[in-house]
Symmetry: C2
Subunit: 295 residues, 2 copies
């Protein structure tokens, strides 16, 4: 077996995630002999050439994947169907097609029907990121110590799944597997709903009367400040995540709204026991995270 | 004039805030010749004696304030009315009574009617804190570079307000003034609503089916993790804040809920423009904070 997991690995999209995979492959070795980078934006391609983290920079998606034994989609999940139409005729038999999207049900929905015979689909979600985006934002250590969730498709090739798992382990990540539906529920509450809340509360503050809004910006204490850090995320990526994990997200928002109304009612009627119980549950969850070293 | 702002300053409550004021007075000088510490809990008093950050440790609230020219309430705002009944007969004419509570309308409501003639009420809110509490949690630098909002009462003594302002400046804080109603609205959206949301979402996660809950704890990405940091706050303090800033908090929660439903509707119907607009507003607010060095 070659010293490399992949002979020729194509990254479709070279923003924070794609750029970090390319850098990790360079920095850690053993991942890919040749890294091909594709972006549909000429300015991104020019920047990737300057940064030098890819061996080949290719403006045409179809040509980019030709001769590759690995392809990873690193674009917003809403672009998957369009990208797949472009690359599917050019995917070689035996090629592994993976991705880095934050939703997995929609990814299987959009990619599986167009999958050529002999090409192996291995959906993946590296749970790592920053509030920054673009080819300059990536760094080789982004995935170190972070979880990557694989959601293998039914009747998929186990060897292909294991090769993608090994890619992420070589990037420094811990790999877990679950079905796409469970994944989508978990990330809805862990990540997508917090982002929806953060975007919303920034808008709510922005709608306040001029004087109050100015004071809000001035006196943003730790509570609001942490919310806005989340809210500084990439527009295209988050629009696509919301729309493509709609069912789980709306379900979790409905549960959250019921729970917030229950707490609001207790505040209105001064029900101290109920309020204290809710606060204690928050502390308990926090302790659970600390014990799991996720805090 | 003395080298000290206060000859004898009493701190009612010596947890994170009271303990930090005492330590700042020691570390920076010029604030108080004598620091008197009161807590109703014997174990807290014993710990304060061990830590040594107060000159006098007094178990009786009335005796603690006797002979003081400054008193700062540093207990949960729900305890103010009871404390005031104990200390009011012992407050010397000319004494300045201030506080460090996160709500200001309720503080004026609870303290003003019991204020003895010649005692000056100066409500104050240092916008600083951590997720920790108790006498061990305080540190001298807690207030450095943080805002302190004073909400002077109508027809109050301007000299008393200025002395409290100077105390906070000597602790390293920036002092602002506004009316109690505006203060309560601003902190409702900046701090109280984010806390209510954080407590709620932890509870929502805790109610999920066993398997999903375990995965939530395991895969808590940055979004949820930041929320739980807020949620780890003191139970008594936050119960009291919610109940004592009820009107502003419920108003802000109602606005937030409307806005979150509007965003949820756009997600359900795939209205990309609306979703993108909400995300962009979040980024804009975030940039505003960064420009104001609050991020």
């Amino acid at each position: 077996m070659s010293e490399f997991l992949f002979e020729r690995l194509c990254l479709i999209g070279v923003g924070l995630i794609g750029g970090s995979i390319a850098r990790a492959a360079r920095a850690r070795g053993g991942i890919a002999r040749t890294i091909v980078a594709h972006s549909r934006r000429p300015e991104t391609l020019a920047r990737v050439r300057d940064l030098g983290f890819a061996d080949v920079v290719e403006a045409d998606a179809g040509r980019a994947v030709e001769g590759c034994d690995g392809v990873i989609l690193c674009v917003p999940v809403g672009a998957y169907a369009g990208v797949m139409r472009q690359i599917a005729p050019h995917l070689a038999p035996g090629c592994i097609l993976s991705d880095a999207g934050s939703t997995k049900g929609s990814v299987i929905r959009d990619l599986a029907p167009l999958l050529p015979p002999g090409v192996h689909l291995v959906p993946a979600h590296p749970m790592a990121g920053t509030e920054h985006s673009g080819p300059d934002a990536g760094f080789a250590e982004l995935f170190e110590g972070r979880y990557v969730i694989l959601t293998p498709v039914p009747n998929g090739d186990p060897a292909a799944v294991e090769r993608v798992a090994e890619l992420w382990r070589r990037c420094g990540s811990m790999v877990e597997r679950m079905d796409a539906e469970t994944h989508d529920k978990v990330v809805a509450i862990v990540s997508h709903l917090p982002h929806l809340i953060a975007f919303t509360i920034c808008g709510t503050a922005d709608d306040l009367a001029e004087e109050t809004r100015e004071a809000v910006l001035k006196f943003a204490a730790s509570g609001f400040r942490d919310f806005t850090r989340i809210a500084a995320s990439d527009v295209d990526m988050w629009r696509d995540i919301f729309v493509n994990n709609k069912d789980a997200l709306l379900e979790m928002l409905a549960r959250f709204t019921e729970d917030s109304h229950a707490l609001a009612r207790a505040v209105r009627w001064g029900q101290a026991d109920f309020i204290e119980d809710r606060i204690r549950r928050g502390r308990r969850i926090r302790r659970g995270l600390i014990e799991r070293k996720q805090a």
